[in-house]
C-alpha cells in the first residue's frame, strides 16, 4: 500500500533560489554541495536546516554557466540568502555567490534562468 500524495493546500510551500557562482576556476557539483552544507550548518545550525528542508538540486546544476538551484521552505529564503552571501571559498578557490532570483516553481526557474 502506498501513501496518498498530500493535497496541494497541505503541502509545505517551497521557493527555489537560483544562484550563480563567480570564480576564476570551474566549481564541480560535489565541491559546491559539500561547502554549502558546511556553511549552512555553521551559520544557521542543524535545527534551522532541518525545518527549512533545504536541498541542492543536482539535475538542475549547470556546470558550464555555473548556475545552481537551491530549494528551501518559503519562510527561510532571507536566512539562506544571507548564508549564501557569507561564503567566500569553495575548496580553496575564491568565490562570490550571486543570487539571480527566487522562483516559486522549477518550471519558472528553468524558463527565467536556465535556458
Amino acid at each position: 500500500m502506498n501513501l496518498n500524495p498530500l493535497p496541494p493546500a497541505m503541502r509545505e510551500k517551497k521557493r527555489y533560489i537560483v544562484i550563480k557562482i563567480l570564480s576564476n576556476a570551474k566549481i564541480e557539483y560535489n565541491e559546491l554541495s559539500y561547502t554549502l552544507w558546511n556553511e549552512f550548518t555553521r551559520f544557521l545550525g542543524e535545527f534551522e536546516l532541518s525545518i527549512s528542508r533545504a536541498w541542492l538540486i543536482e539535475d538542475l546544476f549547470d556546470q558550464e554557466n555555473q548556475i545552481a538551484v537551491l530549494r528551501v521552505n518559503h519562510n527561510f529564503v532571507e536566512n539562506f540568502r544571507a548564508a549564501l552571501a557569507l561564503i567566500k571559498e569553495i575548496s580553496g578557490k575564491k568565490v562570490a555567490i550571486k543570487v539571480l532570483g527566487v522562483t516559486g516553481t522549477i518550471k519558472s526557474a528553468k524558463e527565467r534562468f536556465l535556458t
Binding site: V77, E78, R81, A82, A85, K88, K98, V99
Partner: protein
C-alpha cells in the same frame, strides 16, 4: 532610487584592485551609485583618486564619487581632519572604536558615516545618546559587510551580536543606518539584496533594510551634490539667477 555602496576601497590605500575593476564588479552586482572611501593623506592623494573615479565613471556610465576614510586617535585630530577633507570629497567616513571619537563623529554634521563604533572593543561602543545626536546631525551608523565576511566563527558571533544591538538602538532612536560592502577586493563584493537579507535575518523588517541601502546613502550623496553645486551658498541658502 538606486542601490548605493559608499564603502568600497581601491588600491589607492588598503584595497587590492583598481577603481575600475571594483566598479565593474559592483555594477555587475546591481549597484548604480558608488563611492570609494580610501585612507587619504593629502591633496595629491585626493586628486589622484578623483581622477581615477571620474575616468571609471565615464567608462562605465554609472555615478561614482570619491570619499575618505578617517582614522583619529582623539576628538581634536578628528575635527582637524574632517574640516580639511570635507571641502574636497563627497563622502566622509570616520572609523569608530574610541568612545571620544564615536561621540565626536555623531555630533558633527560634516561627518556622513560613523563606521563600526564597536571596532576593537568589548562593548558595542554606541548608545542612545549618540544615536539621538546622530539623528539630529544626519550622521549615519555605518556597517561594512566585509567585516562580517572576514570574521571567523567565534568573532563573527560577537560581531553580529554587537551590530544587532547598535541597529536596535538606531531603530528605536530613528537614527540613520548605512550598510556598505566595504570591499577590499572584487571577491568581497556582494549584492545589495543579499545584504538586505542579512539585516532581515538579524530580526529587522524589510523597510528598515531597504532604508539602509537605498534612502539613507542616497540622501548622503544628494546632500553632497547640493553642497558642491554652483548655486550653494550655505546650508538652506541657494543662489538663483533671474
Amino acid at each position: 532610487m538606486k542601490f548605493c555602496d559608499l564603502g568600497l576601497r581601491s588600491n589607492f590605500s588598503a584595497g587590492e584592485n583598481s577603481v575600475l575593476e571594483m566598479a565593474e564588479r559592483a555594477k555587475d552586482f546591481g549597484y548604480e551609485v558608488l563611492a570609494f572611501s580610501d585612507y587619504l593623506l593629502n591633496l595629491r592623494d585626493i586628486e589622484g583618486l578623483k581622477r581615477a573615479v571620474s575616468e571609471a565613471s565615464k567608462k562605465l556610465g554609472c555615478e561614482i564619487y570619491a570619499g575618505v576614510r578617517i582614522k583619529a586617535l582623539n576628538k581634536v585630530e578628528l575635527i582637524r581632519k574632517v574640516k580639511f577633507f570635507r571641502n574636497f570629497v563627497h563622502v566622509v567616513v570616520v572609523e569608530g572604536g574610541n568612545l571620544e571619537v564615536n561621540r565626536g563623529a555623531c555630533s558633527m554634521p560634516e561627518v556622513d558615516i560613523l563606521a563600526h563604533p564597536e571596532n576593537g572593543r568589548d562593548d558595542s561602543g554606541f548608545d542612545h545618546v549618540m544615536a539621538s545626536l546622530a539623528r539630529e546631525n544626519h550622521t549615519a551608523l555605518g556597517i561594512d559587510f566585509s567585516k562580517i565576511l572576514e570574521a571567523d566563527s567565534r568573532s563573527r558571533i560577537s560581531l553580529l551580536r554587537k551590530i544587532r544591538k547598535n541597529l536596535r538602538i538606531c531603530e528605536h532612536c530613528r537614527a540613520p543606518v548605512i550598510f556598505s560592502t566595504g570591499a577590499m577586493n572584487v571577491w568581497e563584493i556582494r549584492g545589495p539584496r543579499e545584504i538586505m537579507s542579512l539585516i532581515q535575518a538579524l530580526g529587522f523588517d524589510y523597510d528598515f533594510a531597504e532604508k539602509a541601502l537605498l534612502q539613507n546613502p542616497n540622501f548622503v550623496i544628494q546632500r553632497a551634490n547640493e553642497v558642491f553645486s554652483k548655486e550653494f551658498v550655505a546650508p538652506g541658502v541657494k543662489r538663483y539667477e533671474s
